[in-house]
Symmetry: C2
Subunit: 475 residues, 2 copies
């Protein structure tokens, strides 16, 4: 498969312009739109998604493809001006971005079999790098059906898109420095990928998106009933319950001024208890099960570790009793809220990620305390902050910025109009430092950089002008 992608896939993509490859990506989106209803059924059956969960995954993938299909025509990759070098006036330099000559290996997580596949493939294909995608085995059916449809529709050159279901065998040992790896998943598997001897020896570029202990913060002055307070509660509940909390961007730590921790806990618990859990095929179900019983066991284990230092406000480590559901053949976890008494000495809350519908309230004393505690997460994909005072929001955003890849700041002006803490927008950077893997994906054209080699070319002004003209012709 790797050889096929290297030869046929490279040949098919290399001589197209960015705009032409953008059209291919648009055609992929069209194939998926035409088959959308079938994908929803697969997502519900294979991932235990509700219709809303399935829509985030499927429409998120289609939307990202369409966004990048439009960007494909932008003439912005050659974004740097020639610079004068020393000595002679006619001696100059320019920086070029050229597509890599290898294959992009995309290793995707089980929670977004569609979005994870297409957000990577869109960027890679427009950059001209063939894709070898490996979905997580537990939820591979959706990726398999989608790729099969796209291949059957013959909208891409042979070898441009390849899917490997099941174990990856010796794949990483077969890569070279021309290839790249983009990985989404757990920090443990990420370390195995990044530390693979062949990947290290050949400097194969690796982009990692790993789960992180993301924070949401309520500003000190925000009071019950205010627009920011309500937006905060809504978003925490949404993040805990959408996809049963199985999002790498989900809120895991809920920072609340110490004096308001009990009031927030009560308000959240009331909303969480009212969330209808059950068979995702039923119309009134708001939250389905986790994806496997293994994930359910891991979530309960994580909640037990959090409970060693935090009180359980609602939910817990027993499978909920649900009408018509056999506890021994299902993987439900009730929305589980915990609350720390002493934030200063707590450790597990900053280290243990429950990949399910669970989060912990962390009371904070003041602004500085909050910033310090948030940084103890060791690097996160995203944080969100909620308040009325713009000065406070600007200060806290600046303070926590170095440990985040994205921050959502919600003030009353956008309290009901933002895109959400956990929703990754193709216009915005996706990735975070440290524990989150130190990756950078998406973010418009910036996301294409990973699939390019950037180089300086030094030469006479005539030669530089000829190179610029040639580069512009493929943009």
């Amino acid at each position: 498969m790797l050889e096929f992608a290297r030869s046929e896939g490279q040949r098919g993509l290399r001589n197209l312009s960015y705009a032409e490859r953008g059209k291919l990506v648009g055609a992929v989106a069209d194939v998926l739109v035409a088959n959308r209803a079938r994908y929803e059924d697969i997502a519900i059956a294979n991932s235990g998604n509700t219709k809303v969960d399935a829509a985030i995954d499927i429409d998120g993938g289609i939307g990202t493809l369409k966004y990048y299909a439009r960007l494909g025509g932008a003439r912005m990759l050659l974004d740097e001006k020639a610079v004068r070098l020393a000595k002679a006036e006619n001696y100059q330099a320019i920086h070029l971005m050229v597509p890599r000559r290898g294959v992009a290996v995309h290793i995707n997580a089980f929670n977004f079999p569609s979005w994870g596949l297409w957000e990577k493939a869109a960027v890679s294909l427009i950059a001209g790098v063939p894709v070898l995608a490996k979905p997580a085995s537990a939820t591979a059916l959706l990726a398999h059906a989608m790729v099969k449809d796209v291949i059957a529709a013959k909208v891409l050159p042979d070898g441009a898109l390849n899917l490997l279901c099941g174990g990856a065998g010796e794949l990483l040992a077969a890569l070279t420095g021309d290839d790249v790896i983009a990985f989404t998943g757990s920090a443990d598997t990420a370390a195995r990928v990044r530390g693979h001897p062949n990947v290290v020896a050949r400097s194969v570029p690796v982009n990692i998106e790993a789960d992180s202990i993301n924070a949401a913060l309520l500003a000190p002055e925000s009071s019950p009933g205010s627009a920011a307070f309500d937006a905060f509660l809504r978003e925490v509940v949404r993040e805990m319950t959408v996809k049963a909390g199985q999002k790498c961007t989900a809120i895991r730590r809920i920072f609340v001024p110490a004096g308001k921790a009990d009031a927030v806990a009560d308000a959240l618990a009331e909303k969480l208890k009212g969330t209808k859990i059950g068979d995702p095929r039923q119309a009134d179900t708001r939250m389905g099960p986790l994806v496997t019983r293994g994930q359910q066991a891991a979530a309960f284990d994580g909640i037990r570790r959090l409970a060693s230092e935090a009180a359980i406000v609602c939910g817990g480590t027993d499978a909920p009793t649900l009408d018509g559901i056999d506890k021994n053949r299902s993987a439900f976890v009730a929305p589980t809220l915990l609350k720390l008494k002493d934030a200063g000495s707590a450790q597990a809350v900053h280290e243990v990620e429950v990949f399910g519908p669970a989060a912990t309230i962390v009371p904070y004393r003041d602004e500085q305390d909050a910033a310090g505690l948030i940084a103890r997460g060791g690097g996160s994909l995203v944080a969100s902050v909620y308040g009325e005072d713009t000065d406070f929001l600007v200060r806290i955003v600046s303070e926590i910025a170095p440990s985040h890849g994205r921050i959502l700041a919600v003030d009353p002006a956008i309290a009901t109009a933002h895109t959400g803490h956990g929703i990754v927008m193709p216009q915005c950077n996706h990735g975070g430092p440290g524990r989150a893997g130190a990756g950078e994906e998406l973010g418009g054209l910036y996301g294409l950089r990973f699939y390019h080699q950037r180089l300086a070319v030094q030469g006479s002004s005539d030669l530089i002008a000829s190179l610029q003209a040639k580069a512009a012709s493929v943009h």
Copy 2:
């Protein structure tokens, strides 16, 4: 030292603007200029440099500091415009670059104790990240003297610049995701750094510049006596002999049209044999010894491996006999030129780097053959191409671009006015894919990115405007 840099160093740098930090870097350059004569003596004594070799190292370092001191005032880091997001008109996003909150660990190579130190420190300090530099032990005296002078001059905040001479002990095990590592040296040591369990587990960003098998290419139509032909010969000889070939960017593979291989070999051998080798303290010496006898033994071993498939044209695997030099207490290697008979089946020439004054002529059939052979180096820091035909130069540059970090194209217009194949300019990217380590250093402001976390901030248009104003105030 790490704790001191994290606390004092961060405190001293964090609240300065880029322009203020640029002034500090300029002050460092001034200290070095004032003590330059002493550094030259150390370079000659400790590294076996000639005066020209020492100048490349010392003045290269000072020049890079001065270049970045000027750039420090540029208001370009916040280079991206706000983007509209979905839903409401007043909901926007912007991308910020914020300095990392950790320490920059710089692990430098023995061949550039000054330049390697300062090209990294300049960028890191302007970005606001304290430096912990570890010079290679064999040539640490120059780095030690320079840093001691800079510290004594009190031009930097306490903790901003730290030097660790000798073994690094458990340094890498003490790093976190806030820190970064920039490494220059061999691919083997690079792999140990990048694959270190703690570095992998905490996603510590690592930038690697490793030695590579860099190519120079003479165009098919270029004839003896032409300006490009002469420039090609001059540059190959210079690259082989400056610093006794101990440059990670030096030319190792010399690509010549098959019909001209013998003529080029004769011309190069004549010039190489005329290079005066000896004690670098003598004014007429053009090339000194390698840095240690260990390096000499490694170079001879590498030449033997190359000689298994290539003929030795001049030089070889015995230490040259030199007036007044004891062979058993010195580390000289004669300029050694090899020539392949059959380029198609050769392997060692693309894999074995002799870190000394040795290079191999690789005859090529045609343009396509040359491009394929060059790519077999597995990724290089730099290549240079020489010819009269601009169309050919543009084609070959485009073809070999994906496996390089920099390409110098020499046509008659700049035949005597370019900056050289092996000289790294701060304006231009330094680094290369694959074997070269997949790093990116320097290249103007782009080089500062490694020391920043890039993040998206989403919020109301008022909040985004406030953040922009705040970011601009530190630029």
